[in-house]
Amino acid sequence: MAAELLRESFEIQGRNFDKAGEISSEIKVILRDLGIDAANLRRVVIVAYEGEMNVVMYADRGTLTLILTDEDVNLEIKDEGPGIPDIELALQPGYSTASDEMREMGFGFGMGLPNMKKNSDEFWIESEVGKGTSVFAKIRLNSNV
């Protein structure tokens, strides 16, 4: 059983594009200061940032929880948003339900969830339409993808 070293939760404000990404930047600083190597750090912050942007774009609010153990980094991103009717479809590269406004922000090209999955060692989504979505990602610290 991996020993938990750190657990911290951050509130994500939906629709606030000015602040979007601040949490991921903060996580980058926290983990860098703890000595996580650059390649794994990069994977963690990309997953965090794409996840954070998804909440900002689609949900009213959400929470990102960072859990560091001596073996891996875990990210749990839970939102109160519209939910995803077809998770398999949402994971297909290029599939997107983004609005023009989201695309103008440089996101919503159907790459976010695939990017998150690609950078994770374990990745799964739980979602209920009308209630919200939870995304779980695990990045092992001894692996390099």
Partner: protein, 114 residues
């Protein structure tokens, strides 16, 4: 290739990082889609984009690129430039379009990431 040479080739104005033009880049990632930058950048690339909002610098920071060139004469606002300075990411702006920028830099030996 040093940022100074890129600045001259692309006739750029430097908006942030005037003292960091000695930085060397070998690869380029070019897109207006931030997820595409995040998917393909490996770190230390030159990032070329026409997206000038705060997310462009946030993405540059998260992806770990060395510098940002804004194309098509699009200029970020002051808040974005200040944010880039805070993150120590050099920012250059050129009137050239992305196609021409990529062609010029490719001709000079820089490669894209894939």
């Amino acid at each position: 290739m040093k940022l100074q040479e890129i600045k001259d080739l692309l006739r750029c104005e430097v908006l942030a990082g005037e003292d960091d033009l000695h930085i060397d880049v070998q690869e380029v990632v070019a897109s207006d889609g931030m997820s595409e930058i995040l998917a393909f950048a490996k770190s230390k690339e030159l990032m070329i984009t026409g997206l000038t909002n705060i997310q462009s610098i946030r993405t540059a920071d998260i992806a770990g690129v060395s510098a940002v060139v804004y194309c098509r004469g699009k200029r970020p606002d002051k808040k974005v430039i200040e944010f880039a300075k805070q993150k120590r990411i050099p920012v250059l702006v050129t009137d050239m379009v992305m196609f021409d920028i990529c062609g010029i830099l490719y001709n000079k030996g820089l490669k894209g990431v894939s």
